[in-house]
Structure formats: structure tokens, C-alpha cells
């Protein structure tokens, strides 16, 4: 195809940012609408991408390749496969949703939307980049708008949360940079082309693979975040404005997992096999630890934040299991479960943060104990929130169930005890979710909240697509699995080689 669809998807938000910068900063409505409409461009195009993407092959599609800095073999190289197409769609969708939920931003509107569009450009670029340098550039570009979005529009401890987020993630990414240098200099001929590096993967010395894998692990584990690298997450989530929490949970956390699957796994097969048990163990610790800490939370947003640690733990457990069965077919159940969890957690937790934000906007508190009986006063809000809570605890019929079920089935084939422990996590999740639902929505109505208003039309429009997708993916898993299985099979072959 001649139309550079990936470049347009990635850079249309950047163009949008420039347009926003030209608008008068007093015209809040105009700025808000323009940015929301601009975010529809990548969304529409990513739907086209999903539709036209050929899921029967693991080959890169829609590639665009230009030399950029030939002296150091750096290219402008974009392309998508089954790993990136759903993520690009998820990013575009959650960006639009987040912009819809940002209409109440009243201060420094122009800067807010400009930074947001820059953030979207960086996120989409990460999922589209196939040159390692380009990947790193997009990976880092995101940090700057994120720093501002948390630091300017965040809660009471925003400055601390913003710099903590910035330093933590930069600490991880500089190690990725070291890994990139090491791989670049070890490849013959020197290349930063990810596909070429994947081809050379098995040829890298084992010692090098282990070290570089660990460097990449630091970068990605901080992003996911895997226990014990998660400490930035509760701070960032709690202080960030609602829309940014949605993006953090829905997209940024996925980047860590995506990094493992796109880079660490195929490029460093020996390292991956070497460290896979560690991933499984840390994944299970994250599941249990995240769930236990969630139980202890008094703040609703913190509860959702720690539940992310727990849920991404399932993702890591699933990721650690890959082998080729005796019949010679690749075992992708666990990996598919992992990917399903990435996508589904993006939808569910994105929606949870959205709904927490909706409640906070009205009640100005997130303390679970302060509410009670809201189901009487806000029936629609309660219905939506409870639905997503059920999805989050893994109720069959919702996407979260499919993901966790696949992870368990897949992982049980290799780690029986660990999977057994991980299942306890589901019980714990049910524990804290149901307790939260009970204490906020059921029981005696606290008359203090008589003034609360129902979720409005704009917020409903924002959340409904997530709801539809969550249910749809819960009953029709082939919708997503069909997109990714060829790519995942290829990854298993690459790792096991």
C-alpha cells in the first residue's frame, strides 16, 4: 500500500499538537473539541489497520523504511504485526476516551491538550517502530508530556509523583540504551533494524544475551511494573488526573509487556529461556502481593492502581510459558493469555480509572469508607461500575476471564505449583473487589451524598465502547486471538530455536 498509514497514525497527533499551539488559549471549548476530533484520526485509521491486516502471517506489514542517519545505520522503519495492531488500536481508543473525559479540565487547557497529543504520538510510535533507535526515541518522548501531565494537573503530591515517575522510568530506559548499544556493536554487520537483530538472535554469545536481557528487563519491568519495581505506580496513579491514569494503566503498562514480546523474546532467545522462571516467580509474587495490598487500601484509586500490579502479574506468568509440544506445534496458550490480559486489562482498568474519576469529580473524595448505598442514588453509574468490577475479578463472559483462564491453562503445563498459588490471587481479587462494591454501592445510603449527580452523557459515551469491547471479547475470544496467534506462534519458534 502506498498510503503511509502508520506514519499518519503516529504523527497525526503531533500535527494536532501544533494546531492546538496555534489556537487562542482562552478558547477552551474549541481546543478541547479540536483535540478530541484529531484523536479520531488515529482511531479511525487503526480500525482500518485492524481490518486490512493479514492475520494469517507473522510477517511485518504496512512497512515504511527510509534511511535516517546512515552513518550509524539508523533508519526510519515502521511496520506492524499481530503484536502491534491491537495495541495501536487500544492506544488510539483509550486516547480518545481520555480526551472525552478531559472536558472538565479548566486550567491551562491549551497546554494540557498539547501535551496529551504529544503523549499519544509517542505511544503510537513505540508500537509502530521497528528500528531500535526510533523505538527508543518514541519510548523517551512519552516521558516528557507524562511528567508535565502528572506534575501540573495532578493531585496534592503531584510534584513528588511526577519526578518519581520520570526518574524511575528513565533509570529503566537508560539500561535499555546500554542494551541497544551492546546489541548494535555485537551484530554483524552492525544494525539497529529489529528484524535483522531477531534474525541474528541465536548468534549472540550467551553471556551477552543474559546481560542484555537483564538490562532490557530493568527497562520493561519498571514499565509493567513487576514487583519489586512497582513503587512508582501507586504514586503516579493516585496523583495523576483521571485521563492520565487511564493512559498509564491502559497503555504505558502494556509497553513493558510489549517490549518483552517484541524485543527480549525474539532477539535474545537464550536469555529468555534463562530468565523465564524468574518472570514466572516475579509474576506470581506480583499477583499475590498486588492483591493483598489492594485489600488494605482505603483510597479507591489506590485500590485500582494496586490491582493493576496484580493483573499484570498474570500477564507475566503467562509470558513465561512457551515451548514446542512433542507433536511439534508451539504452545501459545499462555502467551495468548498474556496478550489477552494486556488488551483486556487496558479496557477494564482504563474504564475503572475513568469511573473512579467520574465519582471523584462529583464527591471530591475517593475514600471507600466515606461512601455507602450509592446504588440507590446513581443506578446507571453503579451498573457500569459493578459490571467492570466483575470483569476485573474475572467473571466468565467478560474479557478478563478469558485472559486469566488461558494463562492458568497454559501456565499449568509448566509451573504447576506456581499456577496453583496464582489461582489464589483470583480469590483475593474477588475479595477486595466485592468488598469495595459492597461498601460503596450497597448498604445504607449515606445522605451526605444526596447532591451527587448521575454519570452524564459525555462520560457514558466515553465508557460504553470499553464496555462493549469487554463483553464482546468475553464471549467472542476469536476476535482478538485470530489477530495474534500467527505472530505468537512465530515468537515461540523464535524463542525456542
Amino acid at each position: 500500500m502506498d498510503f503511509p498509514i502508520l506514519s499518519v497514525i503516529i504523527f497525526s497527533p503531533l500535527v494536532g499538537m501544533l494546531v492546538i499551539m496555534l489556537l487562542n488559549k482562552e478558547r477552551h471549548q474549541l481546543i478541547t473539541w479540536v483535540s478530541t476530533l484529531i484523536s479520531l484520526i488515529p482511531l479511525a485509521l487503526s480500525c482500518i489497520l485492524w481490518a486490512y491486516y493479514d492475520s494469517s502471517t507473522a510477517a511485518m506489514q504496512f512497512t515504511e523504511r527510509y534511511t535516517w542517519i546512515p552513518s550509524l545505520s539508523i533508519q526510519y522503519f515502521l511496520g506492524v504485526d499481530g503484536l502491534s495492531v491491537p495495541m495501536i488500536f487500544l492506544t488510539a481508543l483509550l486516547s480518545t476516551v481520555s480526551l472525552l473525559i478531559s472536558f472538565h479540565i479548566k486550567e491551562r487547557v491549551k497546554e494540557y491538550f498539547a501535551f496529551f497529543l504529544l503523549l499519544e504520538c509517542g505511544m503510537l510510535g513505540v508500537f509502530g517502530a521497528l528500528d531500535f533507535f526510533l523505538f527508543y526515541v518514541f519510548w523517551e518522548i512519552m516521558l516528557v508530556p507524562m511528567y508535565f501531565l502528572i506534575g501540573v494537573w495532578g493531585g496534592p503530591r503531584k510534584e513528588y509523583a511526577a519526578i518519581k515517575f520520570f526518574l524511575f522510568t528513565l533509570f529503566g530506559s537508560v539500561f535499555m540504551l546500554v542494551g541497544i548499544l551492546a546489541l548494535y556493536l555485537s551484530s554483524t554487520p552492525h544494525t539497529l533494524d529489529m528484524l535483522e537483530l531477531i534474525k541474528q538472535g541465536p548468534a549472540f554469545a550467551h553471556g551477552l544475551q543474559v546481560v542484555v536481557w537483564f538490562f532490557f528487563f530493568l527497562a520493561f519491568a519498571i514499565k509493567v511494573p513487576i514487583f519489586p519495581f512497582h513503587t512508582w505506580l501507586p504514586d503516579a496513579h493516585v496523583e495523576a488526573p483521571t485521563a492520565v491514569s487511564i493512559i498509564l494503566a491502559g497503555v504505558l503498562l502494556k509497553m513493558g509487556a510489549y517490549g518483552f514480546l517484541r524485543i527480549s523474546f525474539p532477539m535474545l532467545p537464550y536469555g529468555t529461556n534463562y530468565f523465564a522462571p524468574m518472570l514466572a516467580i516475579l509474576g506470581v509474587i506480583s499477583i499475590i502481593y498486588g492483591a493483598l495490598v489492594s485489600m488494605a487500601q482505603k483510597d479507591l484509586k489506590k485500590l485500582v492502581a494496586y490491582s493493576s500490579v496484580s493483573h499484570m502479574g498474570f500477564c507475566m506468568l503467562g509470558m513465561s510459558v512457551f515451548f514446542i509440544s512433542t507433536e511439534g506445534s508451539p504452545h501459545i496458550t499462555a502467551l495468548a493469555g498474556c496478550y489477552y490480559q494486556m488488551f483486556s486489562h487496558g479496557l477494564i482498568t482504563g474504564a475503572m480509572f475513568l469511573l473512579v474519576g467520574v465519582l471523584y469529580d462529583r464527591a471530591h473524595t475517593r475514600e471507600i469508607a466515606a461512601f455507602g448505598g450509592l446504588g440507590v442514588k446513581l443506578p446507571v453509574f453503579t451498573a457500569i461500575m459493578v459490571t467492570f468490577s466483575m470483569a476485573s475479578l474475572g467473571l466468565p463472559g467478560m474479557s478478563g476471564f478469558i485472559a486469566e483462564f488461558m494463562v492458568f491453562i497454559g501456565a499449568f503445563a509448566k509451573y504447576k505449583v506456581l499456577t496453583g498459588i496464582a489461582v489464589i490471587g483470583v480469590v483475593l481479587t474477588a475479595g477486595y473487589i466485592l468488598r469495595m462494591v459492597q461498601r460503596i454501592f450497597l448498604g445504607e445510603f449515606n445522605t451526605k451524598w444526596d447532591h451527587l449527580t448521575e454519570i452524564n452523557a459525555r462520560e457514558t459515551i466515553a465508557v460504553v465502547p470499553l464496555l462493549i469491547l469487554t463483553v464482546l471479547l468475553g464471549v467472542l475470544p476469536s476476535l482478538l486471538l485470530g489477530q495474534i496467534s500467527a505472530t505468537l506462534e512465530n515468537i515461540v519458534f523464535l524463542v525456542v530455536r
Binding site: 535516517w68 518522548i141 511528567y147 528513565l170 537508560v174 548499544l181
Partner: protein, 489 residues
């Protein structure tokens, strides 16, 4: 008749310096911006003469023009241009002697240009003096301020001391080899080293002392740790345009001289002697510079310490000599690119500090609180410069760091790791300034910043350089790689 055409840019700039001083005297006590524009014109013409002058050598290689020299000359002229253009506020605070200020700055630039263009130690020494003596005067130029006089005096005493040390090192080299020409040195030292390896397998102590003296002498000029003590005081006390000029051009000159001596003359001793020595100094500079910068509350001191750290990053490139046919992965070329990147971002950051002080008369970082409220443009530009210095893509500073680390990785992994970890620390203090400007705007009491035209020119050009060279560094890299091809690695 020697082909003096080669020396045209230097000669013109020298004449222009005299001219500016004369004009300054004849229009004494008139505060006018025209002197700035006249000086800028001279710098631009001198830059345009560089391609006309061409390449070649004069006076038996005492003066030579190669791509290496040209690259550095562009950096010197660029830094001088930005420093002069940022000086109009300083001029309005000074009652007289405007011409001398610009004249001295041009003379110092001429010294730097000669410095890169020589492969002979005596000429190198004389050029270095021509570079630094005007800088002593410039540092003390605010005669009404005690801090400025103190800065000038400190700089003079330590500068003189370091010159003496350097000269002693040069004299030892001469004593060992009987020549001051770096190319002859090379041949003899290679022969000597082979002989030494064959006989005693150890280094000549006189040579070791000579190398230490050279490093210490130039280390003072570069403010390398542990020779950096003078820098923060001088940087804080000196008039800000001078500080900016010191932190970029004077460092570039020191690096240029160091590279000429070590690359052209002492390459064969790299792995045994000066490589490890400079690597340790680089590590110390990055660690001390970055950690101390975190503690600073004054933006000039913060930038001073951060510039000490940047010299550390530069030195990674310096010690990472290319191996065989490694093409563009080339330490010396990465060092030159890093300096080029550093020039834009650092001159820009200082220009922002000048713009701020011009309006609010403060260099305290906490006073920057809420700057973005009324002066969004300035705050955004300072953010871009600081992020470039911190090494955030796609700005030019990131590419400089990437290139230096890439070059250093093969031989000096530990140094690259230190560099990468300290760059995370660096982000903390750069982000602190950004935080002051953007977060908590409500408390802001700052009015809109007013700029004068030359300062605005500086800001716009440096911001363009920071972004454009970050997105498309290819031409600069290629030029730097070609430039270092003259050295016998």
C-alpha cells in the same frame, strides 16, 4: 610568499577586534546596540571566510587548516556569536568600555582559532595565552561587583598556574624528543616506545611526568575534576555572557588542544598511559559534577557544575579511539559532535538565564516559579535546552550522548555505565528547574519577560539548532568523521 589566504578568518577577526575597540572609544558613553551588531557582523564574515580560506598548511606546519580545525572554528565562532548577542543587557548596566568588551571577546576567539590550527607546541601555548588572558579581563568586567572581580582574580591566578604547568610539560616533551612539532614527536615516540617495550617493558618516568603535566595544565582550563575548584566561583561571579562563553568556547578550545596533542603526538601511548588516566578523570567529572549540581540553588552555579559533568561525557569520546575500520563509530568524532550539541543547548540555557535576570534580576532557581504563566515561550525554550542537556530525545543532546556512549562501549564499558547512571541524576536537577517554571503557576508573581533583539536572535537560533541537529545529525556526524581522519589511529 606564504599563502596567507589560509589565515583569512583569523586575520579578519583580529582586525575586527581592533576596529571594534576603536569604534568603542570614539563613541564612548553612548549606550548603543549597534556595537553588538558590528561585532556579530565580524563573526559572521569570519565564518564565511572559512570556506574561502580552504585547507592547507603554513610556516612548516606551525599553522595548518584541516577539517578538524574548521569544525572547532565553527564552534568557537558560534559560541562567540551567541555570547556577544546575549550581552546587550550587560552593556546597558555598564557605563563605558563597551568596545573593549567585544574586542576582548573577539581576541579570545582568535586565540582559540589559532589554537586548533597548530600542530606545534610553542604556537599552541601562545594561542592558549591569547585565548585566556582576555578571558581573565572579561570575567572581572563588572567592576562594580565584588563577585566579578573575585572571579577574575581567581581565574587569573589559577590560569597562570596552569599555564606554567602546561609549559613545563611541553618543555619536558621537547627535552625528550628534541622537537616541538607534534608530527615529529609521533615518529620518535613510537620508536622510543618500541625500544622501551623491547628493553625494560616500562614507561620512561620523564614521559609520564610530561603527560601528567599536560593533562593537569589543560585540565585546569577544562575544569576537569580534580582541577575544577575555580569553575563554579568564576562562573557565578563573571558576567553571564562571559560565563556562557567560558563554559562552551573555552572548553572546546581546551579539548581541541588536548586532542591535537594526544591524537597527533601520543597515540601510541593511548592504551598504556593516558587512556586510563583520562578515563578515571572522566568518571570523576561525571560523578562529582552531577552530584554537586543537584545541590545548587543558583542557576549559574548549577550550569557550571553541569558543565563539569559534560566534560566527563566528552572525555568518554576522547579516550575511545576507533579500532581499525569501525567507520563512524569513532570516539574523537563523537567528542566533536557532543561539543557541537553542547554549544547550542548550553548557550541557549545561559541566554534564557540572561533573559530572566534581565527582567527579574535574579539567578535563583526558586525565583523561576511560575515563569510559564506569562512567558510561556521562554519557559518552553529553557525546557528544551535543559532536556537536551539531560539527553532526552529527539533533541541534539540525546544524540550527542548516544554517539559518545556508542563509541565508548567497546573499550570503556564501565565508563559508559557510569555516564548513563549519572545522566539519570542529571535529569533530576534539570527537571527541578522545569518544575519551578511549570508546576504551581498560580503562585506566580512574575510579569511577562521582555527580550531585546539580539537576545531573541540567540534564543531562536539555539532552539532551532537544538531541534534540527537532533532530528537530522547526519551532516555534522559525517563532517566530524572526515575531520578526525587526519589523526593516525
Amino acid at each position: 610568499m606564504p599563502n596567507l589566504k589560509l589565515m583569512l578568518p583569523e586575520l579578519l577577526l583580529f582586525a575586527w577586534a581592533i576596529l571594534v575597540i576603536i569604534i568603542g572609544i570614539s563613541r564612548r558613553r553612548k549606550n548603543n546596540e549597534s556595537l553588538i551588531y558590528i561585532t556579530l557582523l565580524g563573526i559572521v564574515i569570519s565564518g564565511l571566510l572559512i570556506p574561502i580560506a580552504g585547507y592547507g598548511e603554513l610556516f612548516g606546519r606551525t599553522f595548518l587548516v584541516d577539517k578538524y580545525a574548521v569544525f572547532f572554528k565553527i564552534i568557537f565562532l558560534g559560541a562567540a556569536f551567541f555570547a556577544v548577542a546575549s550581552s546587550s543587557d550587560l552593556m546597558s548596566k555598564l557605563k563605558s568600555d563597551h568596545g573593549e568588551f567585544f574586542g576582548l571577546m573577539l581576541l579570545s576567539t582568535v586565540g582559540m582559532m589559532f589554537l586548533t590550527s597548530t600542530a606545534e607546541l610553542i604556537t599552541l601555548y601562545v594561542s592558549l595565552e591569547l585565548t585566556t588572558i582576555p578571558l581573565f579581563v572579561l570575567a572581572a568586567y563588572r567592576k562594580d561587583q565584588l563577585a566579578s572581580s573575585e572571579a577574575g582574580l581567581k581565574y587569573l591566578i589559577l590560569g597562570a598556574l596552569s599555564s606554567a604547568i602546561l609549559l613545563y610539560g611541553i618543555s619536558l616533551i621537547y627535552g625528550l624528543t628534541g622537537t616541538t612539532f607534534l608530527n615529529d614527536n609521533l615518529m620518535r615516540l613510537i620508536q622510543q616506545s618500541i625500544q622501551m617495550l623491547l628493553t625494560t617493558a616500562s614507561i620512561n618516568p620523564a614521559l609520564a611526568i610530561a603527560i601528567i603535566m599536560l593533562v593537569a595544565g589543560l585540565g585546569f582550563k577544562l575544569a576537569l575534576v580534580p582541577f575544577h575548584m575555580w569553575a563554579p566561583d568564576v562562573y557565578e561571579g563573571a558576567p553571564t555572557p562571559v560565563t556562557a562563553f567560558l563554559s562552551v568556547a573555552s572548553k572546546a578550545a581546551g579539548v581541541a588542544a588536548l586532542a591535537r596533542i594526544f591524537y597527533a603526538g601520543l597515540t601510541s601511548f593511548h592504551s598504556t598511559d593516558w587512556g586510563p588516566l583520562l578515563a578515571v578523570l572522566a568518571a570523576a567529572a561525571m560523578i562529582v559534577g552531577n552530584i554537586t549540581a543537584v545541590l545548587q540553588t543558583n542557576i549559574k552555579r548549577m550550569l557550571a557544575y553541569s558543565s563539569i559533568a559534560h566534560i566527563g561525557y566528552l572525555l568518554i569520546g576522547f579516550v575511545a579511539l576507533p579500532l581499525g575500520d569501525s567507520g563512524s563509530i569513532n570516539g574523537p568524532a563523537s567528542l566533536m559532535f557532543y561539543l557541537f550539541a553542547y554549544m547550542f543547548a548550553n548557550m541557549g540555557a545561559f541566554a534564557c538565564a540572561i533573559a530572566f535576570a534581565r527582567n527579574f534580576d535574579s539567578y535563583q532557581i526558586r525565583d523561576y516559579q511560575g515563569l510559564s504563566e506569562k512567558s510561556t515561550g521562554l519557559a518552553v525554550m529553557l525546557t528544551i535546552f535543559l532536556l537536551s542537556l539531560a539527553g532526552i530525545p529527539p533533541l541534539v543532546g540525546f544524540f550527542g550522548k548516544y554517539y559518545v556512549f556508542l563509541a565508548g562501549w567497546t573499550d570503556y564499558r564501565w565508563l559508559v555505565i557510569i555516564g548513563i547512571l549519572t545522566s539519570v541524576i542529571a535529569l533530576y536537577y534539570y527537571a527541578n528547574v522545569i518544575k519551578q517554571m511549570f508546576f504551581n503557576k498560580e503562585k506566580s508573581t512574575l510579569d511577562k519577560v521582555k527580550l531585546d533583539t539580539p537576545l531573541a536572535i540567540t534564543l531562536v537560533l539555539t532552539v532551532i539548532g537544538t531541534i534540527v541537529c537532533g532530528l537530522y545529525p547526519e551532516p555534522v556526524i559525517r563532517f566530524a568523521v572526515e575531520a578526525v581522519a587526519i589523526f593516525p589511529f
